[in-house]
């Protein structure tokens, strides 16, 4: 008897379709063969399930509800779990933490860079101004390239005033904030004491006055001074106005405009303006 014949035999027994003789033979085998009982139980249960309409309906109902839930989840409507095995949340938390730290580091780096570039612009301005007015290098030797020449003077200064101006030029390159303020006070006193002499060198006086104001961070006053110096020193005033705007918060676009006008024409500060624009564009 092959497997299929045996299955049919069991099926006939369960349906009561065997003859008495066959039935006796069947029960004999049931008693003697251990696996035969298991095979009968399986077919018995299978027959019961196939005939049980309630079970079949329930099975379909469960399947349909779960199918709907899963399709809703796939469409993103219901936050139910995925069909994959469990996700290790520690990995996600770790990844999130690392991403956060990386973002923080990047932010810090760019801020630092930005600060550095801002410092670079200020340092460059100071350097240009020192070259112009400080007239001193790191060894303290003195040059006088920017000092107003005698030819530029419209009238001779009194000896006293000339000597004091000489001293002021000498100190301006190495001066600290307090010293610039002190120089400005001295210049103001000088203006009051010997206004005639100052008036004779009015553009030079106000250019120097403006530069010390600029050094001291008083950009508004510096810009006023530069306006008074403009007739005799148009290119210098243009350049220092640009530097004054650069040092003034919110006035960068004005500064860039002036620098561009210097950089694109023949101008005594053309190279400096180009250098400064390059630094600004990298910010």
């Amino acid at each position: 008897m092959n497997k299929e014949q045996r299955i049919v035999w069991i099926d006939q027994y369960l349906k009561g379709a065997l003859s008495n003789e066959e039935r006796a033979r069947f029960e004999e085998q049931y008693r003697n063969e251990r696996d035969f009982a298991k095979a009968i139980d399986l077919q018995k249960e299978l027959g019961a399930i196939l005939a049980d309409q309630e079970v079949l309906a329930l099975n379909r109902q469960v399947e349909s509800v779960i199918e709907q839930l899963e399709s809703r989840a796939e469409a993103g409507a219901a936050p139910i779990l995925s069909s994959r095995p469990v996700i290790n949340w520690w990995i996600w938390v770790g990844a999130g933490l690392i991403s956060f730290l990386l973002a923080l580091s990047a932010l810090w780096y760019f801020r630092q860079q930005n600060e550095l570039q801002k410092k670079d612009v200020i340092a460059l301005i100071d350097q240009f101004m020192q070259e112009e007015t400080g007239l001193s290098d790191s060894q303290g030797s003195v040059s006088r390239t920017a000092r107003p020449s005698a030819e530029e003077s419209s009238a001779p200064l009194s000896e006293n005033t000339a000597a004091q101006l000489e001293l002021l030029y000498h100190f301006s390159g190495k001066a600290l904030l307090e010293e610039h303020l002190s120089i400005l006070n001295t210049m103001d006193s000088l203006y009051r004491l010997d206004s005639a002499a100052v008036q004779a060198r009015r553009p030079d006086f106000f250019l120097t006055h403006g530069l010390h104001n600029l050094y001291a961070g008083r950009t508004k006053e510096a810009l006023s001074d530069f306006e008074l110096a403009r007739p005799a020193h148009p290119e210098r005033v243009e350049w220092y106005r640009a530097l004054a705007f650069l040092k003034t918060p919110g006035k960068r676009s004005e500064a860039v405009q002036i620098l561009q006008s210097i950089a694109f024409r023949k101008h005594q500060y053309r190279k400096q303006a180009e250098a400064l624009l390059k630094v600004i564009s990298n910010e």
Binding site: K3, E4, Q5, I7, V8, D11, R31, R34, D35, A37, K38, D41, L42, Q43, E45, L46, G47, A48, I49, L50, A51, Q53, E54, V55, L56, A57, L58, N59, R60, Q61, V62, E63, V65, I66, L69, E70, I80, L81, S82, S83, R84, P85, V86
Partner: protein
């Protein structure tokens, strides 16, 4: 019939009725909450959605059997009750896999044990539900005509009538039935789960 009307909330009896009838919104709601709980529980135990679906199918079969035998007295919503069975079924499965420890089961307290111990009785119940679920799963894989033939046969129709319904001759219907039944049993027996949940090999009197 269960209703969603807030003036007439779904009662335990409605749910039980829905379970026995195999339809209704109350049953769908219960299945949904049971499935979600089963999935959450399985998530915490490295299970999959397929296992959760199996657990729900088996829990429903267990609940139906208890309801038919008058052993199901719902003191909580059907969904929570089914979820409780799912949890215990899962623990039972884990224990079967690990072959260690004992399973704590609050549902043991629901009925008076017969000749067998509570554990034996419940294990038998769970094994039966798992086998029934396996049969249903394999039945779905079977070809439509085979499935129809076996269902008609199980419902007590004679082969001549079945042949007429399906448009076969008597001889062909008889041969086809043998082949379909044989195929279905072969699929069931070759499933690795069957060995774990098959009947005890003790001889029956």
């Amino acid at each position: 019939m269960p209703t969603e009307d807030p003036l007439y909330p779904v009662t335990a009896n409605d749910e039980l009725q829905a379970l026995l009838e195999g339809n209704g919104p109350a049953l769908s709601k219960a299945i949904e909450s049971c499935y979600l709980e089963a999935r959450a529980h399985l998530k915490a135990n490295n299970g999959t959605s397929e296992e959760a679906q199996d657990l729900v199918q088996e829990a429903v079969l267990v609940a139906l059997k208890r309801a038919r035998e008058g052993r199901l007295a719902l003191t909580s919503p059907l969904g929570a009750y089914l979820a409780g069975i799912c949890k215990n079924l899962w623990r039972h499965r884990l224990r079967e896999k690990k072959r260690m420890g004992t399973v704590t089961n609050e549902f043991f307290l629901e009925y008076t044990p017969g000749g067998k111990s509570w554990q034996e009785q419940e294990e038998e119940e769970w094994r039966l539900a798992a086998r029934q679920n396996l049969y249903l799963k394999k039945l779905k894989v079977l070809r439509g005509s085979c499935k129809k033939l076996l269902e008609l046969d199980a419902n007590g129709l004679d082969l001549k009538t079945i042949g007429k319904i399906l448009g076969y001759t008597y001889g062909y219907t008889r041969r086809k039935k043998g082949k379909c039944l044989s195929k279905l049993i072969e699929m069931i027996q070759s499933d690795p789960i069957y060995k774990e949940i098959s009947h005890s090999s003790d001889l029956k009197s």
